[in-house]
Amino acid sequence: MKDMRKIKILVLFFCLLIASYDIAAQNDSTKPELSVTIHHFVINNSFQYLLVETKTKVGNKWQPLKRQVLQLYLDSNKPENLITKVMTDSDGKAKALIPSGLKSLWDAYAIHKFIVVTEGTSKEEETITESEITKAKILIDTSNLDSTRTVNVRVMRPGNDTWVPLKDVDVKIGVRRLGGDLKIGDEETYTTDSLGEVSAEFKLDNLPGDTKGNLILIAKVEDNDQIGSLSIDKIVPWGKIYKPIGASDFGFGDRSLWAARGKAPIWLMMMAYSIIAGVCGVILYLIFRMIKIRKLGRKEIYISAAVNV
């Protein structure tokens, strides 16, 4: 009897084990983990857009969620607050602009909430993600005293009727180059003081600018929890004048063995053409000799014909 009971307990244990594994597997297949991140960008205090990044967990790895339909809302997920409906790309990202129809709502409050609703599919359930943003603006100014060039940046948020400084915000200051932004001083970032200001000395002497010597200074706040991402740029004549390099600067316009067809070296042309002319001259001379032989032969035919007559 005891053995029978032991067997029953063991069978029950295995049944429970299999059932729990099956339930876990079902949960895994029906509810994959989903990550939605909302980024808010403001460029030059005028242009703003949203970037939504979606990821799903496949096995132990996060993969971009491709072709996922997203609904973006401002402040609440009512139809009248719909910003737009977008689909993620192959990187699992989607961009959206805030439409002009929501301008009055945007202007009315200092703090806003972005809501992203992922549409439910057979594999994924509908999810709602929210992100709160405080409106802010960033200003850039420069000074040039005693040959010391300084860049001053201010970050502010809306107060009661006016803009108030925002302290303890990390700001990056640099110069826009082709491969990215080049920092102007030793520091990677500068933190705003109680006046919402940072100052950085411009140490990049002899940096090539454009054809007028202009450089583009850029100040930016990146992914701040409170105000999102802001950037502003300003053109300053602090660079070296850039002289465009033409084909002639590399010698491509000169006559050379590697130049274009019309730029063959004179010595080569003279050599080649004189050899070609010489050989063609010989061939022509030989053809004339052949004509002469023909003429002599014809003449002889006429003479012999005349003699026979």
Binding site: A260, A264, A272, I276, C280, I283, L286, R289, I293, R294
Partner: protein, 435 residues
Amino acid sequence: MSDLALSPEKITADLLPQKFSKRGMIWTGILIIICIAGAYAYFRQLKEGLIVTNMRDYVSWGIYISNFVFFVAISLVGSLITAVLRLANVHWSTPLTRIAEIIAVSAIVFASIIIVVDMGRPERFLNLFIHGRLQSPIIWDVVVIGTYFFLSLLLLYFPLLPDLKILIKNNNGSPKWLQRSYRFLGSFWKGSKEQFKISNKAITILCVTIIPVAFAIHTVTSWLFATTYRPGWDSTNFGAYFISGAFLVGAGAVVVAMYVFRKAYHLEKYITEFHFEKMGRIVVMLAFLYLYFNINEYLIPAFKMKKPEESHLTNLFAGEFAPLFWFAIFIGMIIPIIIMLFRRGRRPLPMFIAGIMVVVGAWFKRYLIVTPTLLHPFLPMSNVPVSFRHYFPSWEEWAIAMGSLAGALLVITFFARVFPIIPIHETIVEDERHA
């Protein structure tokens, strides 16, 4: 020629073109079939594009360019036998001059054709001339090949004039179109003293001119490779290496043709063992010369074994191409030298076998010059497909290459059917001089 003096009538009767025998008909039929197969393969290439070949991004010059280099090499024989020996006042080569010249003309014609075959868009051929850069060795090659063709044609035609008179006179039984062709080509030749004077002067000028042009064509063809900074090609030796190789394969081809024409047309009295003996000595000398250049070409880079050269050379000496490489060295040079170094080896049959070895070895040698280097680029691609790293010609490439070789042989065969393959007039004059 044999010591036994022959009458001009006998010489004329012996050397006039003869109709194809049964063997000749079979030979011509086989060549035509190979040519048709080549033409069909080319039609497929035109229709489908170069994708029907096995040439890819690495080996972009395959069997076609190897064949081109082979044809260019073999064409040098015209200047060797005709020009060099004529200028050196060597008379024993008289029966061989026309064989050498027709080999040169047919080879240079098919060298030009095979280059067009290698072009992906042959309808753009004219662009080579319209947009060609004078700085490019490819344009130099186009110019020298054209020039060499015209000079070879003239060198074939001028000595043919006295024979055309004989052909017109002895035209019994020839088809009418052939009689008309003879008259069109040579009815004006009366054999007057003045005509001979002009003709002989023209031939001397041609001989003087064709030698530098022949050297130029082979040097420029070698520069197509040597001006490229690649393992196996980056050599200052290449011009001389190519010329020596061309002389050897050309002389080998003449030996083969001598034996075949001698047998087929019963020309034992005109192409004698003496001619084989003399040609044997020339071929041995040329084989030694080419072997010397080969040792230079491979030993010095192998001694230094620079990194980029290493894989190329080890591949040739002991790798994928080793059987072909040693075949080309032994069959194309060393064994023919051993055969022809001895008097008994300079008799017609051993010479014929050695001549075939030289020609076949030379063909594979050209393949080895072109292909292994292309398989070892300085900047290998990452994740390159396996098909890029190996090359074996497709059936279309083989058919076209063999078709071009058959075409060149067909030109020589038809020429020998229509014109005397041994100069009749010059043989009579030589015979009278000896008598």
